[in-house]
């Protein structure tokens, strides 16, 4: 190599160093690695997401948080608490009592799956789990109604308590239906909206009926 004959390296420049590149603490991967964080942070992040979605359901605006980052924790918690609160009815002695825990669970989840399949078959553009998420979260007003009903029934079971329960359940039923329609109706083809909204109405009606007819032992 004739050109390299002119290159000379002076003796006082050190030709040494480290070959390995250290993994610096400012690498961007470190921020998304959740393996080392405290457990409390992990749990609080999910709880905050669920709580944010609850707020979106109670004050339904056209926000896409429910749709984009779907999760099924909220629906599970709501379904289990609703099914638990519907127990303790007059189901212990006779066979014709209120719905059992498994029946409430199956009605809510199977009903949500059937409604989701129905809206997809009619040409909706929403994804399967997004629709399940919305339908599950919109059970929240009815769970609140169940809580109120149980508290009212503690005070007495007469006609006035029945009227109060009726009004509360009807209001919450309307709220649930309107909230879920607000989230789901946009993803449907325009001339089939009523075909998609009607099963949602039937679903929340059945849940409201179960809440309203709950009679303690």
């Amino acid at each position: 190599f004739p050109g390299l004959a002119d290159v000379s390296i002076s003796q006082d420049i050190p030709v040494e160093g480290e070959i390995t590149v250290p993994v610096g603490s400012h690498s961007p991967d470190e921020d998304y690695s959740t393996l080392d964080e405290p457990v409390r942070d992990t749990i609080m992040r999910d709880l905050k997401a669920v709580g944010k979605k609850f707020v979106h359901v109670m004050y339904p605006r056209k926000s896409s948080a429910l749709l984009r980052d779907w999760d099924l924790w909220g629906p599970l918690v709501l379904c289990v608490s609703l099914a638990l609160m519907l127990q303790g009815g007059s189901a212990d002695s006779k066979d014709d009592g209120g719905p059992q825990f498994a029946e409430v669970f199956v009605i809510i989840w199977f009903g949500a799956v059937v409604i989701t399949l129905n809206s997809k078959l009619l040409g909706g553009t929403i994804s399967f789990f997004q629709s399940l998420c919305v339908l599950g979260y919109c059970v929240l007003p009815l769970t609140v109604a169940m809580l109120v009903c149980r508290l009212v029934l503690l005070a007495g079971a007469g006609t006035i308590s029945f009227i109060i329960r009726l009004i509360v359940v009807m209001a919450m039923f309307g709220w649930s239906t309107l909230a879920s329609t607000a989230f789901l109706a946009d993803s449907q083809p325009p001339n089939r909206k009523a075909l998609v909204v009607y099963p949602i109405f039937l679903f929340y009606f059945v849940i409201s009926w179960m809440i309203l007819t709950f009679t303690p032992q």
């Binding site: 009815g89 007059s90 006779k94 066979d95 014709d96 009592g97 209120g98 719905p99 059992q100 029946e103 129905n118 997809k120 078959l121 009619l122 040409g123 001339n191 089939r192 909206k193 009523a194 075909l195 009607y198 099963p199 039937l202 009606f205 059945v206 009926w209 179960m210 007819t213 709950f214 009679t215």
Partner: protein, 306 residues
Amino acid sequence: MAAADELKFQEFDDAANLLAATPDATTISIDEPAEIPKNQHSRLQEPGREEDDELLGTDDSDKTELLAGQKKSAPFWTFEYYQTFFDVDTYQVLDRIKGSVFPVPGKNFVRLYIRSNPDLYGPFWICATLVFTIAVSGNLSNFFIHLGKPTYHYVPEFRKVSIAATTIYAYAWLVPLALWGFLMWRNSKVMNIVSYSFLEIVCVYGYSLFIYIPTAILWIIPQKVVRWVLVVFSLCLSGSVLVMTFWPAVRDDNRRVALATVGTILLLHALLAVGCLAYFFDAPELDFPAPIIPAHNGTTVTIKSH
């Protein structure tokens, strides 16, 4: 050159001008098929008309026969295959419901409304609504009947929902299956002009159950006469839709077989209505004052009305 002129692009005149220039040229005209008018009452008054035309609808039954072959082309394991069964708009579903409640005399429900586009939306959701309507109405009616009695404790009777669901879905799917199998078997023996696909039969049965929804709501009224009048009335309406649909399919057969088929259809339909009324709705009791009989040991015995 003349050849070069002939090869140049030429504008063609309107067909009328061309025909005026060469009146002897052969012409082919393609017309749009006539629009189907919804009300075809005018055709009923023509006595010379074939009965088939009245029952089969207008002339575009040819078009529907052609279309029937082009519809469901996706393989059955894809989602698109099942989407073809839900290819209805809101107004179509409402029209089909209207057609099942107000049967036009002489018109075939399948040919008039379904038109080779059977859907599963109507049958499925009408059955679901009927299940819950019967369960809720039965519960309400029992509540009002037993309201004043001191020994009555209200129970929601949730068990009955699953029983209602089993009964109604079995009726809406197994009876059409049996009927379709029977018609296929008879078709192999007797050449029928009218044959229905399984989905069309399911569609007719599903939509014919719609009349029972308001009937079930009105069954809350605790009067025996009112309930039985409602049963007869709804049976007439939906039964006539079923008879008018299936009579052309068995008409060419042996007379007794045809009558037995139609009779069985009506009988099963009536059994469903009467069975639901009997099981879900308690009989309204008559109120008469209970006589008091003095017993031997001095205590009075009251005979309760039952």
